[in-house]
């Protein structure tokens, strides 16, 4: 027995001891499934799921752009679908393997970014607005109210160039995804004017400070805002009058996947009304699944923060992916604001 066969034998023994069930690799945003979502799927389909989480689209893209990431199903935000598709990273969806697709809410059956749902199944959605302490009078209704000198040092904006510049653009009456240098420069002036009034640029971590009362007004995602409101009922949320962005995360199957069928089974499983309703309830995020929405407890189903009424919804905008030149200008402006 030479050394190589010896090692092969060892490897073989190790292999025998391991689980032989098929394995699906799912990479998702953190806190984006219910506690029983994955175990139930494993039990019902007799498979194993390797599940891991990420915190940003960039983190996800950095991995999957190698084309050899080892993941089967991932959940990019809708405006990343087109670049992922153009780089050949996505497997086209097989609708014959997704019989639960009609459960989607009418608003997501033919979304603007993927008319025929060829690449991604809309999963959950949310918007960006203002969360505020009810002690603030008058209550904010517009982005412009976040330039209020009376609240100096008690307000925060998101530490995210897209949302933060987007709010400045909306205040000026421009599109959230403007690529016009002049508009962007004017938005920059607004941001620099606002900076001395702000306590900080914070993302989800502002939640605790809203609850504790350090921060009285914050630009925040509706899902995170709802978590803060659940913890402190003296908080409220508004979708600003000038307009605001919506985001939607989609479940996709990567082209590199060798288990396209199983991956579709998983997507189809997530589309089941009860599964999807449990996810929406556990994560307090708005589901794209209309059949699931109907199953939710009334307090969640009719919550205007998660599911804004049609007149508010109409003011929302789905931000487009930015071309490289605009992206670069925005990054420069962002750095200038931070360095100012």
């Amino acid at each position: 027995m030479n050394r190589r066969t010896f090692f092969l034998g060892i490897a073989g023994l190790a292999g025998c001891a391991r689980d032989t069930r098929p394995r699906l690799n799912v990479y998702n945003w953190s806190a984006y499934v219910g506690p029983e979502t994955i175990p139930d799927f494993e039990r019902e389909f007799g498979v194993r799921v390797r599940y891991a989480t990420y915190e940003s689209n960039e983190e996800l893209l950095a991995k999957v752009f190698t084309g050899n990431s080892g993941w089967d199903v991932v959940f990019p935000t809708y405006n990343r679908l087109e670049p992922m598709r153009s780089y050949g990273l996505l497997a086209p969806l097989r609708h014959d393997w997704l019989p639960n697709l009609p459960n989607l809410d009418a608003g997501f059956r033919a979304p603007a970014w993927d008319r025929s749902l060829a690449w991604g199944v809309p999963y959950m959605w949310y918007g960006t607005g203002i969360v505020y302490n009810r002690s603030v009078h008058p209550a904010p209704t517009r982005w412009a109210d976040m330039w209020n000198p009376a609240l100096k040092g008690r307000m925060t904006m998101l530490d995210d160039p897209e949302d933060m510049l987007g709010a400045c653009l909306k205040k000026l009456g421009c599109s959230f995804s403007s690529t016009d240098p002049q508009e962007l420069r004017r938005a920059e002036q607004e941001a620099i004017r606002q900076k001395p009034l702000l306590s900080a640029y914070l993302n989800a971590e502002v939640r605790d400070q809203l609850v504790a009362g350090d921060v009285l007004m914050a630009q925040l995602w509706s899902t995170t805002a709802q978590q803060a409101i659940d913890a402190a009922p003296n908080l409220a949320f508004v979708f600003p009058a000038e307009g605001f962005p919506f985001y939607c995360d989609c479940a996709v199957v990567l082209r590199e996947s060798h288990r396209a069928r199983l991956a579709h089974e998983f997507l189809n499983y997530l589309l089941r009304p009860h599964v999807s309703a449990r996810v929406a309830e556990a994560t307090k995020t708005a589901t794209c699944n209309g059949a699931a929405h109907a199953l939710l407890p009334p307090a969640i189903r009719d919550n205007p923060v998660l599911y804004p009424p049609p007149d508010v919804f109409a003011r929302g905008e789905w931000p487009r992916a930015l071309p490289p030149a605009a992206q670069r200008l925005r990054d420069r402006i962002w750095t200038e604001i931070k360095a100012s």
Partner: protein, 275 residues
Amino acid sequence: MRLRSWFLFPAWIWLAALFAAPFAIVMAYSFLTRGVYGGIEAPWTAESYQRLADPLYFAIVVRSFAIALAATAICLVLAFPAALFIARAPRHKNLYLQLVMLPFWTSFLVRTYAWIFLLRDTGLINTALQAIGLIHHPLPLLYNDGAVLLGLVYAYLPFMVLPIFATLERLDPSLAEAAADLGARPLSTLFRVIIPLSKPGIVAGCVLVFIPCLGAYLTPDLLGGGRTVMIGNLVQNQFTTARDWPFGSAISIVLMLLVVAGLWAFLRRESEPLV
């Protein structure tokens, strides 16, 4: 080759795999073109370096150096007496050293978050000061340069204490006694005998504190509340939201060169009198 030289082999492998190879990758990335959605693409170009010659980035570099220098200076002022105390302590020397190392038992991230809970408007410090009536409105302790400086000093103080302690401990106590015998007062002994002799420790401590402070990104991010940028934040931003890996790599390379050049000049100047 003699057997002895083979002992260095693991260290060479380590250096090659974990330093030289990543450095070469960063170097190569910095001369490539930005991929539209992150990553890198052909062709080769020096454009990222040209972009760095921009007063905006220069201002951020100057700022980072100023903050890192200030943090190093404060660390030195705090660490020297502490190191002297430990080195001269007749008993419990190990206990004191353990206390210096104690913060390392907890994750850096958790410790930095803990500062947020101490410093914020409804945090422990402001609540306590208001309770005893010293102040009526919360002090703005968090999300400014002071908080960043505090966080950096807190994080890197042990790196200053330990090397200074090591040199002071080896210092022959009879030298200080001799100075006293020759009529030097304690302060004079300190500044003319002890500090010059502990210079190697001071230099090592300054280097160990200054370099990580210069590249810090977590502390300015968490305690500065994203209101300020240091070089570290600039680099991080290029690899995340800005999706400009070549530019981020170029900033890293330039930062590295600046540090190496600065260190070289500093050590050359500082080590001459000792040789």
